[in-house]
């Protein structure tokens, strides 16, 4: 261990290694974070970013390697210890209680027993000075995702950290909200605080980060100045080779094609106090086209998906029509039998049963649709046919796995997603509805899934994609509609759509939404 601690580096990591069973999640990672810099940690899903960060935040113990904090060797054994050192973290998935106020949530994480009123006052002052507007007395359940993130950031800042770790912070924000966040980060940097910024969005890394460390397969593959790189050169470092660009042939004759999926005046009351009501949604998806639905998470996309898929039935049978027939009163099985296929957002526990094998998970969505191929008329499961079909999908989608027919939970998120999408594509459905098709999927596989969705549409199917990833929607959609607070905007043809227009709609700027926009402002 050659020491070179001139004090300029706030954090130095040497040879940090973490092994899970046979997998080396982090392999001799070196990382230096200087005082007052925004340092990007780039890498695909599964590259080891989360594992590294968990070791820095004390929630995982490294197998070997050293961490220096202000030049001193330290062992971070718990998140509490990380906080004491001055490391704060804003997680991608918030840990907030919806039924409590923002200030109460903050108080829960500060175990110093100070009264709520003083915490609220401090939080208010802090939010004001950093340009993060937040009312500490509002209920979390009433707040937008962007506002919830502000609570997490303020909660982190209240502990006056020297290093702030942000895990994919913009994945839940509109472009405009992201801009505000960047201003805050630049402000923090000017105060001499350091930020470790985890992302796979190259444009924003280029925009705000001073240096970047790129991980691939658990190893550091390079340090660079992102401003001197191009998005594609960064992508090459992350992926290791060129990612094939998705090709979208122009859709022809769509205007005259028959709508295969029609949503007419679909409304739904909120099922729980914190779910979003759907208000008068209208949409046609024609044969041959891909329609994208953009929107910040939690604006009714999940509720909309459940209604279209038939997991929740409609009062009015005509509010969902598949291939020209009313389907609103039919169950998900009935809608599948009409030629529709569905891919939900949650993989484990919704799209797949975690403790069941892949072949059994094939049966999950296809037990009724493939005639008598998988299930005989006596209700007997044809295990050999199911197994063969599962293997066919595994090959077609290049699903990487450790056993011939493993449990769904044993696959990485991206590989399971490939299987779940492949399971439906294998049927060549007339209508395909996908929620977050490439969430957590590596770039190569994501390109594969996107291309497959476009090709399904061009072969005459109607494809509806709900996604929070605007880049993805611009890549594959023929038109993009925006869901905001349970309402759906008119689809904007891709030729007219811009990031700015869609971003404004995501923030609720549709004329019909103006009233609500004022409420939340």
């Amino acid at each position: 261990m050659s020491a070179n601690h001139d004090g300029a580096n706030l954090l130095e990591v040497r040879g940090l290694t973490k092994i899970f069973g046979t997998l080396t999640a982090c392999d001799h990672i070196d990382l230096n974070i200087a005082k007052g810099e925004i340092h990007a940690l780039l890498g695909e899903n599964g590259a080891g970013k989360s594992t590294l960060v968990k070791m820095l935040f004390g929630s995982l113990e490294p197998n070997s390697g050293e961490i220096f904090w202000n030049g001193e060797a330290v062992r971070i054994t718990s998140p509490g210890m990380a906080k004491k050192l001055g490391i704060g973290m804003v997680f991608q998935h918030f840990s907030l209680f919806e039924a409590l106020t923002a200030a109460e949530n903050i108080a829960l994480s500060l175990d110093d027993g100070s009264p709520i009123s003083s915490i609220a006052a401090k939080a208010r002052a802090l939010s004001f000075s950093y340009g993060l507007p937040l009312d500490p007395d509002s209920l979390v359940g009433d707040l937008s995702v962007g506002e919830r993130q502000r609570i997490e950031i303020i909660r982190c800042l209240l502990q006056t950290p020297q290093l702030i770790i942000l895990d994919e912070p913009t994945s839940v924000l509109t472009p405009q909200e992201a801009d505000k966040l960047f201003e805050t980060l630049e402000r923090l940097r000017s105060e001499g605080k350091s930020i470790l910024y985890i992302s796979h969005r190259l444009e924003e890394v280029k925009r705000i980060c001073d240096r970047a460390t790129v991980l691939r397969h658990g190893k550091v593959v390079g340090h660079c100045n992102p401003r001197e790189e191009t998005a594609s050169s960064l992508a090459r470092m992350m992926v290791g080779n060129e990612v094939k660009a998705v090709v979208r042939a122009p859709a022809e004759g769509i205007e005259t094609a028959a709508p295969l999926l029609e949503i007419r005046a679909l409304s739904r009351k909120p099922a729980t106090p914190f779910s979003i009501p759907l208000k008068n949604i209208n949409l046609n998806v024609r044969a041959g086209e891909v329609i994208g639905i953009a929107g910040v998470a939690g604006n009714g996309q999940g509720e909309f998906f459940e209604s279209v898929s038939g997991e929740v039935l409609q009062q009015d049978a005509g509010s969902v029509r598949i291939r020209g027939k009313d389907a609103g009163a039919l169950s998900i099985t009935g809608r599948r039998l009409m030629g529709a296929a569905f891919v939900p957002e949650e993989r484990l526990g919704h799209g797949a049963a975690p403790r069941m094998k892949l072949s059994e998970n094939l049966l999950l969505s296809r037990h009724a649709t493939d005639g008598k191929v998988f299930v005989s008329s006596g209700g007997l499961v044809r295990a050999a046919a199911v197994y063969a079909a599962a293997q066919r999908i595994i090959v077609a989608m290049d699903v990487r796995k450790s056993a011939p027919d493993p449990e769904a939970a044993a696959l990485s998120g991206g590989n399971l997603q490939k299987f779940i999408v492949g399971r439906e594509l294998d049927r060549s459905p007339a209508v395909m509805v996908v929620n977050q098709p490439t969430w957590g999927v590596d770039a190569g596989a994501a390109a594969h899934i996107r291309q497959a969705l476009i090709e399904l549409a061009r072969s005459g199917s109607a494809v509806l994609v709900i996604s929070q990833d605007l880049d993805e929607l611009f890549e594959i959609s023929d038109a993009i509609a925006v869901m905001h607070n349970g309402e759906l905007s008119k689809p904007l043809p891709i030729a007219e759509a811009t990031f700015e227009k869609i971003g404004l709609l995501m923030g609720g700027a549709e004329p019909g939404h103006a009233e609500h926009a004022l409420e939340t402002a």
């Binding site: 973490k18 092994i19 995982l60 113990e61 569905f342 526990g349 797949a352 049963a353 295990a383 449990e407």
Partner: protein, 374 residues
């Protein structure tokens, strides 16, 4: 200083899934030995009387089959419930109602004889058990009540109903005031399998057939897949298009029918008439059988024989050593306790952590530890 730590396994361990009942049985034996020693009895002698003597002759094996039959029948049905995440604790009541429904034919129509009588009785028994099980299913699906409470409380209702029947309307007028019905006529009695060798009746065959059929259902049929999906991840089950409420009814009706069949088989085969008490707690012991048998119908056959032995052993130590036959209940309870405890090893492994080693490389090189930070 050492402490134990549970470390979650990445995959469930097949080894410990199979081994867990055996470890539990071993621990029960050890705890039982301590129990006998504290009672002032030589444990070795007690175990010989408890576990070996009751099965050392052919007629005794028949007694074992008589006790095992209702346990297996009920537990096989319960295994479907528990796999579906439906908690039917009221099999004892469904057993009693099965006995009452099936007995209605020989009690109310004592002159009705012939080959039709028995099949009708068995059918009635199944209908009675299923109908009684439908009550908690209906309450759960309509009003969201907790089926553990409702099914359990209905057991006591069933017990008092039977008690009232045999003391009131169904009492044998020629029975010298004893609280019991008339003896069933010959065509209403479940025949013995091998009358020359012992008393075992067709109930044991029903139990074996039920075990095989339910095993086929669970492992080969779409319906069994449905049970497993809805039980393990209900949301994925809804995505598959399987109805949760339909499944609650299916599980309750199936287990109720099997418990009812066990009830009428017991009354018609082993007892021959209705009495105030027709079960030594079969419906509750079957819960232990179901878990000891890994909720697998074939494992349940083996577990049913083991638990039947605890009944016979309890009677044996009572007569030979003068120990209360409640010792059987103690053994059954310990067995369930240990098997549930050992099941932890399926999902977790145990690691010894040295508390003194707080610094240095020793801890860094310890086995990987995954905290719940995801």
């Amino acid at each position: 200083m050492m402490r134990l730590e549970l470390v979650k396994r990445p995959q469930r361990s097949m080894l410990f899934s199979a081994l867990s009942p055996f470890i539990a049985f071993g621990l029960t034996i050890i705890a039982g030995a301590i129990l006998f020693a504290l009672l002032g009895v030589n444990p070795l002698n007690a175990f010989r009387i408890y576990f070996i003597e009751p099965v050392s002759q052919v007629w005794q094996l028949h007694e074992l089959a008589i006790k095992a039959a209702p346990l297996i029948l009920i537990a096989v049905g319960l295994s479907v419930c528990y796999k579906a995440n439906v908690w039917n604790i009221g099999a004892e009541g469904q057993f009693i109602l099965g006995g009452i429904f099936g007995s209605a034919i020989p009690v109310l129509f004592p002159g009705f004889e012939g080959p039709l009588v028995l099949p009708l009785m068995l059918l009635f028994g199944m209908v009675g058990g299923a109908a009684y099980a439908a009550i908690p299913a209906l309450l759960k699906t309509r009003f969201g009540t907790n089926e553990i409470l409702t099914s359990l409380m209905l057991v006591y209702v069933a017990q008092f109903f039977l008690d009232w029947l045999v003391r009131g309307p169904w009492r044998d007028p020629q029975g010298h005031g004893f609280p019991q019905t008339i003896q069933f006529n010959d065509s209403a009695v479940l025949p013995e399998l091998m009358p020359d060798a012992g008393r075992a009746n067709w109930g044991f065959v029903f139990a074996l057939i039920a075990a095989v059929l339910v095993w086929l259902l669970m492992s080969r049929l779409l319906k069994g897949f449905e049970v497993r999906v809805l039980g393990s991840s209900p949301r994925a089950g809804r995505f598959a298009g399987f109805g949760l409420n339909r499944m609650v009814f299916f599980a309750f009706l199936l287990s109720g029918a099997l418990a009812g069949l066990a009830g009428i088989s017991e009354v018609s085969g082993a007892i021959g008439q209705l009495q105030p008490v027709i079960s030594p707690g079969y419906g509750f012991t079957a819960i232990i059988v179901a878990f000891l048998g890994r909720l697998n119908p074939l494992g349940i056959v083996a577990a049913g024989l083991v638990l039947a032995l605890t009944y016979l052993g309890g009677e044996a130590v009572q007569s030979a050593l003068g120990i209360s036959d409640k010792v059987a209940r103690v053994f059954q309870g310990m067995l369930l306790f240990f098997v549930l405890g050992c099941d932890t090893l399926i999902h977790y492994r145990i690691r010894l952590v040295g508390m003194a080693l707080t610094k240095g490389a020793a801890k860094l090189e310890a086995a990987p530890k995954l905290k719940e930070a995801r």
